[in-house]
């Protein structure tokens, strides 16, 4: 109660959302411009977590637990994704000996 009060008083909702938006845009930009597959992957994680932040913020704002539950789901899926994604990355690296996204273009015409 006390800590919530502290947040309420000191940090406005918009700041949280702004932070979330900034993180998300960083993720998008990183996804678009980075060449290394692992960095791209991390950018995706960053976007997911930016969304998580806004979920939590709203859950707190409206005093509803649903947003927090949703965050757990997202984290769970992200964990599974990380496991599968890293496995794929390692497999790709073994075959191609590179992690540059532009070079992994076997399916391109």
């Amino acid at each position: 109660m006390n800590s919530m009060h502290l947040i309420n008083q000191e940090v406005p909702l918009a700041w949280y959302l702004l932070l979330s938006a900034v993180l998300f845009c960083l993720g998008v930009v990183g996804f678009l411009i980075k060449r290394n597959l692992i960095t791209v992957f991390m950018s995706i994680e960053l976007m997911l977590n930016a969304v998580n932040l806004s979920f939590v913020t709203f859950a707190h704002q409206w005093h509803q637990v649903r947003g927090q539950i949703f965050v757990f789901f997202v984290m769970m899926v992200a964990a599974a994704e990380a496991a599968v994604g890293l496995a794929i990355i390692i497999a790709v690296f073994r075959v191609r000996a590179t992690l540059a996204v532009d070079r992994i273009d076997l399916m391109k015409l």
Binding site: N8, L13, A14, F31, D102, L109
Partner: protein, 643 residues
Amino acid sequence: MNGPLLFLPLIPLLPFVGFLLNGLLGHRLPKAVISAIALIAPLISFLIVLRDAFLVWSGSVTMPFVEQGAPAWISLGALRVDFGSVLDPLSLVMLLIVTGVGLIIHVYSVGYMHDDEGYWRYFAYLNLFLFFMTVLVQAGNALVMFVGWEGVGLASYLLVGFWFHKTSAADAGKKAFIVNRIGDFGFLIGLFLLLANFGTLTFNEIAAKLAANPAWTGGVLTAISLCLLIGATGKSAQLPLYVWLADAMEGPTPVSALIHAATMVTAGIYMIARTHFIFDRSPFALSVVAIVGAATAIFAATIGLVQTDIKRVLAYSTVSQLGYMFLGCGVAAYSAAIFHLMTHAFFKALLFLGAGSVIHALGGEQDMRKMGDLRRKTPITFCTMTTGVFAIAGFPGLSAFFSKDAILAAAFNSGGLGKILWFVGIVTAVLTAFYMFRLWYLTFWGESRNHEAHPHESPWVMLGPLVILAILSVGGGWTGAARFGAFLAPSVGIKPEEAPGNFEYLLTPLAVLAGAIGWFIAHRMYHRPKTADGLVPGTPAGYKLLAHKYYVDEIYGFTIVKPLLAISKYVLEWVVDVAILGGLAWFLAGIASFGGAILQRWQSGNLRSYAAWLALGAAVLLYFVLGPQIFGTAVPHIGIAGH
């Protein structure tokens, strides 16, 4: 419904069932079964008609009998079109002719078509024809009549083109259908005019409305009459739409007898008689009918003088006789016209079937120049044909003597052009006698000019119908025009001017004399022809003109068909189809492929460009969804504090 059951709906339905059975299963059935199906249907229909006629005669049914409670076809506001049949003297006479002669010709066909591969198809079509013809005759309103009208045209097309592997037969079928289409167009316009002006298509209601308004004459009634007349000229092969009938002889001979002589081609006369209350209100339209009839009668008769194909002679004779009936209608002597329709159905069916028997005997030969001396080889055909020839020539006591006389007398007694029409009719009678006796001499007399064929008499299944029709041709007119007219009076009214003219007693001998003159000339020229191929008279120019049928086909071809074809080819095909429609299609296809060529660059295969477009798209979407809240209007208060 009071009174005994008349089974009117069964009369068309039975042949229709026969058509379905033979048409759908016929190719798997043996010939005996096909014949049985095809014959039983018209037989029962004919018996029903006979029974109805008997009921009428015995007085248990009063005519006109209008069937009530029939299923509705169209029910739109005040307009109601139902399938109710009508039995009045006019439709009763027509039903007797159609089913009676139809039955006889069905029987004949069993023999005539016995060896044809399309046996089942033939009988299916023939039953289909009977179905539509009886629908036409029984119809209580003009629209159902039109259905039958179109239907008999279809059956006619199918049967004219029955031997469709022969180009000439297929072409003749198309010609018949297309020329009829022109007439049907007129009929249809007439129906629309009727509907627009009377609000109903039921004959009784139209008649009642006209009776209630004796002042309505001319004007739109003339227009309606003339439209109906165009329809009638198409179906009944009158000027200027008669050209299809001679070519229709490509069909099997019994078809020529049934459809193109006895029944279908008389539908136009029947239609005019059925709608006589409209024609009666338009003296102008009536005179047009009479002039068309008289002109056709003499025109076709002159062509018939020089034809060498036995069936074509009979075809032009049919056109000419139909002209007589139109003449009768045109002088408002409807009962005389229907009377002649009936006797004509008998003797012309007889003549056609006799010609079929001759053709059969000679193994398919139709050219009269290759016939001759058949009276010894085919005596029964000869006797029956002779009856028919004398009947059509108006020999006293035979059927056409009474009916033709009635028409000519009515024409003579009508005012205005009456005398001229009568004179044309008398000249036509001379010509008729001439070409019929020419046919008779060339076919049955003289030396045989065909040495390959071994003529043999036809089987009795063909001769029986000939004998029956010969009896009818003799006795068909014995009721007399006056009694027949009195019987028909409830349907078509009595001609007002029945007062005998001054020369009345001279008319009949004159008509007989006309026939005798024709016979005499034919006897002189053809009894012992000087040349093998018959006699070409000393006026080659006139002969050539007639032999080419006045070049009417050529004129139509040059003035109508050629321009139509040219318009179809150059305007419709090249301009409309190729340039406009094709160009439009190419244009649309060009847009699609050009656009595709540009848009395909989008599909780069670069993952990051896809992702960038995705992000951009999401951003644009967000802008449109949230933009008004963020930029357009005041920023809503989303702060937390204080609440």
